[in-house]
Symmetry: C3
Subunit: 211 residues, 3 copies
């Protein structure tokens, strides 16, 4: 339990930092940067809880507000030095992502839904915060363009499913899922993995489908 | 029942195709295009179910995931040929829209809410997926600019209301509603119908109202 | 009760006008402008109700639709003259904001949640409609850039909290909260108050955190 909480704090921290840095690059004020950091960290879990119709997780404890505040303080104080910690932050980000996926899957299964819904929710938990962040700072969600991100979440979810089908216990299911997510993220960055782009001939037909 | 399901699949298919094509034009990768297609197809119904506080429809069956997958495969395989089917796709789109409106209205009435809420929900079911799609690919929602789209949903809803007030049965209510939506969509495209623009003199007063 | 309702109508009216004017400046059609006005007015309360898992407020009465319709009619009829009423509209906006914050806090406390959640919900009720408006017309949410806006909501919430801790009754709690919000908004506009920007050295490290 304590380990899970610690990892969740680390994940929240990494996600909040990523939001705050992008906001800072866009010259947001402190409050705006704080909000972007918070939304990046809790957005995915919030959508998951609303879709599952269960109590929204961050209303149960102010912990996420504090961690985001700490993240903001660190960015303000160490803004130049932070660049040197990119590698560390990336690892935090990958660990946070992995845990968010595990939590999303577990909560969905606990709510009595199917495994494929759980994988969708794990993916939403891990990636929707970043999509919201991009919408709020009005850049095109990178989610749809680069790297293996949501696909790492899905792969982790499939690993969870396989471990579950074979009959391994909860801890193994969660651990394998997390390792797959982290492993794929590291490989994606290191080897510059990407999914194939969709080629498509732009034309004027789209005006029939604008809604 | 089987007919309704078939039409729903056709609507999902048409909406997913519209999302995937726009995503392809923006050079998204496969997964991004799939997600955009899925969100276009299920976004409206998801918001409706969350607002009505009823179980989210797409969690009950993976059908929508499969149909979106099929849409993606078709766009990838037939990307050039698809342009020739614009007319067919537009008809699918209009039929899908009509059914989405009918489903949105019926579900809201079944939840015990007023007819005007039902019309709002029918409109949301039919058009919010497209708005989400436009937000995610970061273009200004066409919803607010062109054609008769949401207004066709509302007109269909009013037709539903009138049939209901007169005392016609469910099937007639739904059929007339659907025909009004489809008819208006076809007329809007064929005769280039549009609502009047709001003329307004731009000035600097807006800075008082920026939130 | 009647006074509260009157103030709520005034707030809805001011928020809807702000949305419709921005939409008009972007040349939206009437329906698009109406929708933007409505979303600006009810967006914050809708998110609050969904997060709190209570019935969405605007489904209970069509009042908000009517007030938005009236706002649209006024913008269409008096579009040039409206500029002269900027000061009046700003006061309406500040009063509306204050009431939205009070309602958000009170509803959250009534749902049995903590005071800090209530402050968050008051802030969401007051400011999320404007954020949605900016997303829908595809401009960067001004929320994160200018003026004291969300911070005025939070300050009002803290005032509410203090009054509550001291033991004052509901009316005093709400009144002091509202006055703090209105006062801060007026001072922010008059003295051009703003929060400090986050300085941050742009670099290429962000690609590790794109989701």
């Amino acid at each position: 339990m304590d380990v899970l909480l610690l990892i969740e704090v680390i994940g929240t921290f990494a996600f909040a930092i990523s939001g705050i840095r992008l906001a800072a690059a866009k010259k947001f004020d402190w409050f705006g940067a704080y909000t972007i950091g918070l939304v990046t960290a809790i957005g995915g879990g919030t959508l998951r809880d609303v879709l599952l119709d269960i109590p929204v997780f961050w209303m149960q404890t102010p912990l996420y507000l504090y961690v985001t505040g700490l993240s903001l303080a660190l960015v303000i104080i160490f803004r130049k030095a932070l660049v040197q910690f990119n590698r560390t932050l990336f690892i935090f980000d990958a660990i946070g992502l992995a845990l968010f996926v595990v939590i999303g899957i577990q909560k969905t299964l606990d709510a009595g839904l199917s495994m494929w819904v759980a994988i969708a929710m794990g993916t939403i938990t891990g990636s929707f915060g970043g999509v919201l962040r991009d919408i709020l700072i009005n850049i095109e969600p990178l989610f749809f363009r680069k790297d293996i991100y949501a696909t790492a979440c899905i792969a982790g979810g499939l690993a969870f499913w396989i471990m579950r089908d074979i009959g391994y216990n909860d801890v193994i299911q969660q651990l394998v899922c997390a390792l797959v997510v982290i492993g794929l993220r590291i490989c994606a960055i290191r080897y510059n993995w990407a999914l194939p782009q969709l080629r498509y001939d732009k034309d004027k037909h789209n005006h029939n489908h604008e809604n």
